[in-house]
Amino acid sequence: MDITLLLMAFFSSIGLVFAYLAVVERDLVKAIIFSAVQSSAYAAMLYLLRAPDIVLVYLPVAVGLYPAALLFLVGKTEKEDGE
């Protein structure tokens, strides 16, 4: 079987699990980190899909800028998700 497809399945499963964790987590800081892990899995999938241009922009945004922007916003509001 094609190793690329196996790796795609692996990373998409990781993305799915961490997307679930990000949604159900009440602590917003943890949820942001789960979301960043999910984005990193998607960056790996984009690399496997042979889109290095997208990987180069997705990786700094997913791991650096997006969690940072959200963490700054959480710092300005509340740490827990309210109902």
Binding site: D53, V55, L56, P60, V63, G64, L65, A68, F72, L73
Partner: protein, 268 residues
Amino acid sequence: MRRHIVLVSIVLSVSALAYATTYLGALGPLGFDTRLLAKLFLVYAYNPGAPELTVMSPEAVTSIVWDFRGVDTLYETVVFYMAIVAALAIYRGIGYSSSGVRGAGLSLIVRVVTKILIPMNVAIAVSIAAHGHLTPGGGFQAGAALAVVSVLLAVVFSALSFGKLGVSLARAVALRSAGLLTIAAVVLAPVAFGVATGIRGFLMQNYVKLDSPLAFPTHVSGQLISGTLIWLNLAEFFAVSFGFFVIFMLLSLREDVVREQLGEEHEH
């Protein structure tokens, strides 16, 4: 209860998408052959034999982004510019002073590791921008990579470090504007040159066209620079990275100081 709802909706939507994309063929015919459109781009991206159709860049994605559909990218840059303008408008009149920021930063170990990482980060960002017409990457990718430095500075060394490095809000805005002005200059240069000399020139023209002999230089001392692409990539690099610098400098201000300075306006 909430966990169950999330779990069930994820399982349902993933199953539906998996079924639609495999058994129902929702993505259309997928083959292993390269499609005609892709073949055209690959043939004409770097093709000195067809000068009026080529971009003179072996990187097909950058060729598409800054030439074949260059005006799209120009407007995307304008959208990003407007987003930064909106952020500056929200924080209008707020002085970026040392009193408005938290001065703590993280531990010594993190600081030393980050000090080693930041020069590497800058080098990689510059290389992504300067090689954008040769290898995967380009202005926006490089700008996003350099913007991570602003996050590292704000989080690891505290927002005070911007001032220590000589990066003020006004300077970041000026560098971002310089990038945008360079893009505008490159876009308008063929038209201006055409008006001055009486030769027909087009907006964003990169290389010769059937009815216009104007072309940006494609080589400098034997090195391929692909006409407008290297200038647009470098200018976009400045516009995007310092745009992000502005955003993160504003976000790293303490909320109580911001509210105090905006003051009465927010209470109405």
